[in-house]
Amino acid sequence: QQRIEIHKLRDGDNLILGFSIGGGIDQDPSQNPFSEDKTDKGIYVTRVSKGGPAEVAGLRMGDKIMQVNGWDMTMVTHDQARKKLTKKNEDVVRLLVTRKSLENAVRQSMMQH
């Protein structure tokens, strides 16, 4: 698990982060190409725009977002997740993400013990 801090970029009236999300408890989890377990209804990063603040901060496509600024993202609807990410009065969002390669590394290190 990795903690990523993204500084929002101000573009006119909007604050953009530079990535797209998919998933949520009201969505269809079998369509998710990034999840290993096709019943996982978490929020996944589906696209990272090049050069955006997310890429700069180290977010990669396929990451699963576990927390946003302390708010849990594993059991939220798609709309709730969007809202938590696009709060207008926050300039910085701190995400807790999980990556598949990270998972494998964690698992391997656990197995060695």
């Binding site: 953009i16 797209s20 999300i21 998919g22 949520g24 969505q27 269809d28 589906t46 725009s49 969007r82």
Partner: protein, 633 residues
Amino acid sequence: MVDFAFKCTVKEPQGSTFIVFLGLLKEGLLERVCFTLFFVFRDPHIQPFGRKASKIDSLRSKVELLKLPLTLSSKSISERKTRLGGATERSRGGAGAHKPRPPAPDMDNESQYSGYSYKSSHSRSSRKHRDRRDRHRSKSRDSSSRADKSVTIQAPGEPLLDAESTRGDDRDDNWGETTTVVTGTSEHSVSNEDLTRASKELEDSSPLECRRFAGPVLSGVLGLFALLTPLAFLLLPQLLWRDSLEPCGTPCEGLYVSLAFKLLVLLISSWALFLRPPRATLPRFFVFRCLLMALVFLFVASYWLFYGVRVLEPRERDYRGIVGYAVSLVDALLFIQYLALVLLEVRHLRPAFCLKVVRTTDGASRFYSVGHLSIQRAAVWVLDHYYTDFPVYNPALLNLPKSILSKKMSGFKVYSLGEENSTNNSTGQSRAMIAAAARRRDNSHNEYYYEEAEMDRRVRKRKARLVVAVEEAFTHIKRLQDDEAASSPKHPREVMDPREAAQAIFAPMARAMQKYLRTTRQQPYHSMESIIAHLQFCITHNMTPKAFLERYLAPGPTMQYQRENGSRGRQWTLVSEEPVTSALRQGLVFSLRRLDFALVVTVTPLPFLNLGEEFIDPKSHKFVMRLQSETSV
């Protein structure tokens, strides 16, 4: 006259010796018979004298049979075979009187089959094998219609079906050098044929027939008596003291009409429901029926008692009262009949128990639902359904071939070197052998698997040939339409009736059919005559080849193979730990035994059903598409 048995050895021209053992011939005929036999074996056209003719005929035909493979070129084989078929006879003593005796196939020995000649076979060994089979088949003809004399070679008690398939192989080895022909009968011994016929006659004349009708006759008499009682009640005062009776007006007439109607209803319904010839004799009394008969008897007796005391003695003058009395008796009888209907018929219709019926020999099983019955009635019910549901019991299909199982026996041989007392060693030895056998790799399942696969393949191949042959045979004939009969004088076709048509198209499919039946071990159930009869039936009803074949491709229910000797009935034994008149309940097990197999019946109650209700509004069926949205932030 001195009776003795003698042996006569005759040198057969082709070099093989026949040892003939004839029982109990007269002394003076010794040389004559030997001489005649010698001539007979040389020239088949000599007909020896009188009484010995039939015996020597049978011997001669035996000789002819054995001579067949050697002299293949001399005579036309089909002609020889037809003569053989006419002369040989055998009796199979093995089948007891209880087993149904299936007719053996005699397909090859008919003259219309002469299109198949010996020389058209592929190899000499297969030809040899085939004529050994032919020989056995011609011997296995059902000889119940023939005379007393019979030639038996096999021991009685040997099963009917193995003879054709396996014994031919045993005989192959010793053929050609010496052949022994043994006749098992003489004037003083009783052949197996006679024994079976005698026991059959004993059974036919047994008092089973009388016992079957004793119960219904008794109840019929009682019922008739009960029905005539009201009429007697009415008529006796009229006959005895007519003058002193008070006249009875319209109410009496109404009562007469109702009385007549009720009597008619009683009569008709009791005939329709109760007075049927029963299809089974039960080992013990039928409890409910006895109860009801006792009830009826009690009723009628008490009515007569009261009648005798109150009416006949004081010469009652109130005729209307008497008529009313008779009507009340009829009402009571109607109610008893209603009670009987409920107890005997209706109570058994609502299902309460599930019976599992398993046949002990091959595991064929069925499940049935019955109501509340006693054990014996449940047994009758099960047997009714057995005859129509269970596939027929074929003893040839039972066991694994010995070649697979016997491999286990040939294990290690244990030699004891120099040990004196063998008693201590025997258990040790056997235990060692068992341990060794267990440790050895057991491959018999492998062989079983391959044998099964091979058998399946063979059956399927034969079935394919049969289907093709039958389809092709059916294309040879077509039904003549009515308008075609008058037309086309230039190609006059021979018009046949169904039997001739069946015989005409039977020839090309006969061989394929015979091979298929032999592979599936069904040949004792279908004789050539029955096949032709079935073919004729199918042709008459415009059936397709597939419909014709359905009878042979799957083993049908036992009812299909029953013959019409229904008067003797089938003997079944009910084996049960509880008295057979007790009612069914959970966990009861009883079995129905016949001579060579048994049906084991287990009773379980049907589960109690808790049925709930759920109402679904038809407007509540709504659907949405699944979401997969992607938002950019």
